[in-house]
Symmetry: C2
Subunit: 238 residues, 2 copies
């Protein structure tokens, strides 16, 4: 229905040039893209123009970049990526609302290779896996988290639970596709209604809104965090 029109701006054209080659399969997932300087020579535009195109593609989740390394084609979103987020409790408190929370389940798990890379730990390290219902005022929001913490004590289990700061969290949620600007909305599901034993399902209807503040995708098994001790090894095809 909608023809793919040629973008009017040059950085838009560079974006389209890259998207076309990813779409056609010429540049596969995990494949290293030409460097910014190479694009400059190939396309005859300035490096700032290339940089802007690549920066936008990064924020759109199409490519992943690392300073000193290069640019790589991201894996297409499966809808269940691991995203690193700020603490939800802080967000709720900072926005002037009352925060409570209740732990539904809390276990420890052993990190597989993906989680180990994501957390910059060794495989087999014990991580916490929790399902927590956060309340913004009285509105419930179920969040599944995996995190690692040396300060965690199991007797928090029956108390109000506020996740301390220095931990790194990975929230498994619906993942990003190509977008410019982000809002994340969750409506409590029927499942949550049952979980909380709410007899008035209408109380669930009010939207609980949370906002991403850091949406960098941790590409499972493909990419490491900046500063990670893990080398990229031979995973990429240059």
């Amino acid at each position: 229905m909608s023809d793919t029109i040629r973008p009017p701006t040059r950085y838009g054209q560079v974006k389209q040039y890259i998207l076309d080659r990813i779409q056609s399969g010429e540049w596969e997932v995990g494949c290293r893209l030409p460097s910014e300087s190479a694009f400059v020579e190939t396309l005859g535009v300035s490096r700032m123009t290339v940089h802007r195109a690549l920066r936008e593609l990064t924020s759109e989740g199409v490519v992943t970049r690392a300073q000193g390394v290069g640019t790589f084609v991201s894996a297409p979103s499966t809808g269940a990526e691991l995203l690193e987020l700020r603490d939800i409790a802080d967000d709720i408190v900072a926005s002037g609302h009352i925060h409570r929370s209740r732990i539904v389940s809390l276990d420890t798990i052993r990190a597989d290779m993906d989680l180990a890379i994501a957390f910059d730990q060794r495989p087999g390290t014990r991580l916490f896996h929790s399902v927590i219902v956060h309340y913004e005022d009285d509105i419930p929001l179920q969040v599944e988290e995996r995190f690692v913490s040396p300060h965690f004590a199991p007797d928090y289990l029956d108390q109000d639970f506020s996740i301390a700061h220095p931990h790194r969290h990975l929230y498994r949620i619906a993942g990003p596709e190509e977008v410019e600007h982000v809002v994340f909305a969750i409506t409590p599901t029927a499942h949550i209604c049952d979980l909380l034993e709410l007899d008035a399902p209408e109380a669930c209807l009010q939207l609980v809104r949370r906002t991403w503040v850091d949406s960098r995708v941790v590409m499972k098994g493909i990419f490491t965090y900046p500063g990670s001790r893990y080398s990229l090894g031979g995973r990429y095809r240059p």
Copy 2:
């Protein structure tokens, strides 16, 4: 808990400078910000740095800009802004899924001043107000829309409904706060389960994901679209 640290980059400092003044009330909602050139003289940075700071603040919903006009402080998000989006049906088809839809309700309403400005119409103009359930494959997603269309015929009501292209749509959804990258996720609610007379609520649990592609906020009563016949008049305080 979290101290506000001074951003390391200059454009980050410019962003913080502006955010501080908005936070302190020195620059109120609707207030016109200094021009890029003015920031250059005041802060002693280059215009490109100011431009990048303002561009990011725009994508974060903090300010609204218009070429040839200026930069203005956006209204804080109430969580229910009017956003202009691309057609959901197109998104579903373009992503390779099967699209169906069902109209739950369809009425006409009279445009109030806000809607009139948003649609670039006169107040009192008849608009359509619809509640439609879109299906991505078999996953339901309820969407409330307001739109104006000369081509619309009421006998679409019992058919499959695919919204044609030239219409302008305004989706009332959870609105943006400060974010960099956007994902929108909706889980079908208990209300939707009732609406669709699903007896297996577990079928509702699967996430329906949609992605924003155009998230420009239409500031109600404050801003007009580029190209609108409506002048800005004296609404702003320079």
